[in-house]
């Protein structure tokens, strides 16, 4: 390997090599952070909702005028929907995983306890005794709500049910190392005696806001939203689209004085929930690719210039016994050394950039193993970029050495 003479040669004429190293350093600093952020966003986008996604859809129904008693009307609607062929369960709801709207509350365990900040925050899901079935969420311990425990809920009511279900993550947070079953909690958000008994623990599921700090802490309350409200329906596998297509007609058969809107399958709910993540991932990926392309073109340009500038030198090396592979290796080694210098500077810069992102934009801290990955990418990029000019150099005839010009 010609590392020592290549290094000496680069030291003798440092400017061009340093410029390429600086470009590589900048690329690595940005690339490592971008890769990390994009991967984090992609991981968030693919997080589990806990819902039987392929078979679930939601919609809203707005009553027009006062043609119906809200509570009775809702019961009639539910009866009609649950009777549809292919429907497993339907219920009115407030708050579905990833739905981007709903309630949240702070939970306390003692009367005098004050809760501030996100530690005891949980999303509140309202629905009837069929909510778990309608979402496809499993009950891990305890029991579901009985029909007689479910009460109608109208907009403006304060939820103060005697019993609740909570998600596994919330149970572990509130009662670490012990069973939450039978425990009393206060879900009202106001100081006071805990008055809600935990009667069941559900499997993990997401909150309506999957990017929130604790996206898996959920409380189910036995309140059935009534009147103009939203519904969630779960069907047999393969039946969802057919049921969705017929839902408006089924509800009009109960009462035509209504608007049925927002009929969405779960893919649409998920897409909507992660729209900003997806946009950011796409934009950042495009920036990273553009940056890599600019760096690659920079390397190609510099290496091409060097090949032209060193034509006589390359011919002389060939005349003195260099094989074509020696010439190729020379340029690859030179590029690798320049890139390694860039990687060293870029790694420090990447950590510094990440520090700023963490401090000012609340990004996650860059794990150390992203740097070797970024370094590998720029190293491979450098080797690929230099390959074309280096192969051109190998085609320089040794006879060029005897030309005097």
């Amino acid at each position: 390997m010609e590392i020592a003479p290549i290094l000496k040669s680069l030291r003798k004429n440092p400017v061009a090599g340093l410029l390429i190293s600086a470009q590589i350093a900048l690329t690595l600093a940005i690339l490592a952070n971008v890769l990390f952020v994009v991967t984090e966003r992609v991981a968030t986008m693919s997080m589990s909702s806990g819902v039987d996604e392929p078979n679930v859809f939601t919609f809203g129904s707005q009553n027009i005028g006062n043609s119906r008693v809200p509570v009775d009307g809702t019961l009639a609607d539910l009866e009609a929907i649950n009777a549809l062929p292919g429907v497993i369960a339907a219920t009115t709801q407030i708050g579905v995983p990833m739905g981007q709207s709903g309630w949240q509350t702070s939970i306390t365990l003692k009367p005098e306890e004050q809760t501030e900040g996100p530690e005891r925050v949980a999303a509140v899901y309202m629905g009837g005794e069929r909510l778990l079935d309608a979402l496809g969420v499993k009950l891990l311990e305890g029991r579901n709500f009985r029909a007689d425990e479910v009460t109608p809920w109208m907009s403006g009511d304060q939820p103060k049910p005697p019993v609740v279900l909570i998600s596994k993550a919330l149970a572990e947070r509130l009662f670490p190392g012990e069973s939450a079953l039978g425990k009393m909690i206060n879900i009202t958000g106001d100081p006071g005696e805990p008055a809600q008994q935990v009667i069941g623990i559900t499997d993990s599921l997401a909150s309506p806001w999957p990017r929130s700090r604790n996206p898996d802490r959920i409380v189910f309350v036995p309140l059935r939203p009534s009147g103009s409200t939203s519904f969630v329906v779960r069907t047999e596998p393969g039946e969802r689209d057919r049921v969705m297509a017929g839902i408006e007609e089924a509800l009009f058969a109960v009462d035509r004085n209504r608007i049925v809107d927002g009929i969405r399958d779960f893919e649409a709910i998920r897409d909507n929930a992660f729209e900003s993540d997806r946009s950011m991932a796409v934009v950042l990926s495009a920036i990273a690719l553009a940056l890599l392309a600019v760096t690659a073109f920079g390397i190609v340009g510099q290496a091409s210039f060097w090949v032209t500038q060193r034509t006589k030198q390359i011919g002389t090396r060939r005349a003195l016994g260099a094989k074509r592979s020696d010439i190729l290796r020379y340029f690859q080694t030179e590029n690798a050394l320049i890139t390694l210098l860039g990687i060293a500077a870029g790694s420090a810069l990447a950590i510094a950039v990440n520090g700023l992102l963490v401090k000012y934009l609340s990004f996650g801290a860059l794990p150390w193993n992203w740097l070797p990955l970024g370094a590998l990418i720029v190293l491979v990029l450098g080797q690929l970029a230099v390959l074309g000019p280096a192969l051109r150099a190998t085609r320089i005839a040794p006879a060029i050495a005897t030309r005097t010009a």
Binding site: P5, Q313, R317, L320, G321, A397, T402, T404
Partner: protein
């Protein structure tokens, strides 16, 4: 050392065919000092390129140190060139970014010598040309004559059997040219075969054999009593 029989070299383009060497036959024995002269376009450089395995001939026989080079691939030619031939170029062809030590090291690295062996050869050859105290100077810090001495040291470091010199004094003034020529004579006196292409008839006459070319053919070969001339 070098045998060429009925050698031809033809350069072809879409429009024209140029016969650079025609029926070229020459034998240079081990220990000879041959000078090749001729006007511009006579084929001197083509001869040198073919002799130095920098180009392939079109037809005929070329044996270097008993090895028929026809049909060798590029790597084989490179390896043979590195082992058997030392080059001295008119414009020295030193690498400006490398000091004298590293310049002389270039062909030795391609030979694959271990580091200690390379160091011994570099110091020895630079000392032989009178530059042993300037190992870490750069070419730009030397005179033209000194640079050509470095090139000679680089050519000698691999102990080649054949030294090919392409106008070795072409870029030097008279005093420096004489010094370089004396060095080449000394090297030849120690047994290295030298083939030198030159315009300078006076230098050519100092060689043991003087080959004159015109239009790609040898038109005259003159033998000189080299020892007598040098003594004079």
């Amino acid at each position: 050392m070098l045998t060429m029989k009925s050698l031809k070299k033809v350069y072809r383009t879409a429009l024209v065919e140029t016969h650079a060497l025609r029926d070229f036959s020459l034998t240079v024995k081990a220990g000879d000092f041959a000078a090749v002269t001729g006007p511009s376009g006579s084929g001197k450089t083509t001869f040198l390129n073919i002799a130095g395995l920098l180009e392939e001939h079109t037809d005929g026989l070329y044996e270097l140190d008993g090895i028929n080079v026809a049909g060798m691939n590029d790597d084989q030619r490179s390896a043979l060139r590195n082992e058997k031939i030392g080059f001295i170029f008119q414009s020295f062809n030193l690498i400006a970014d490398l000091d004298l030590y590293d310049n002389v090291d270039v062909p030795l690295r391609y030979r694959g010598f271990p580091k200690a062996e390379r160091k011994r050869r570099i110091v020895e050859s630079l000392t032989r040309v009178g530059l042993g105290s300037r190992l870490h100077h750069y070419p730009a810090e030397l005179s033209g004559g000194q640079q050509q001495r470095v090139a000679i040291a680089r050519a000698l470091a691999g102990t080649p059997k054949l030294l090919l010199a392409d106008e070795p004094t072409g870029n030097l003034d008279t005093v420096m040219a004489r010094g370089v020529m004396e060095l080449l004579e000394e090297i030849n006196g120690q047994g290295t075969t030298i083939v030198m292409v030159t315009h300078d008839l006076e230098l050519a006459r100092r060689a043991g054999r003087h080959v004159h070319m015109v239009d790609g053919q040898i038109v005259d070969i003159a033998e000189t009593d080299f020892a007598r001339l040098r003594a004079a």
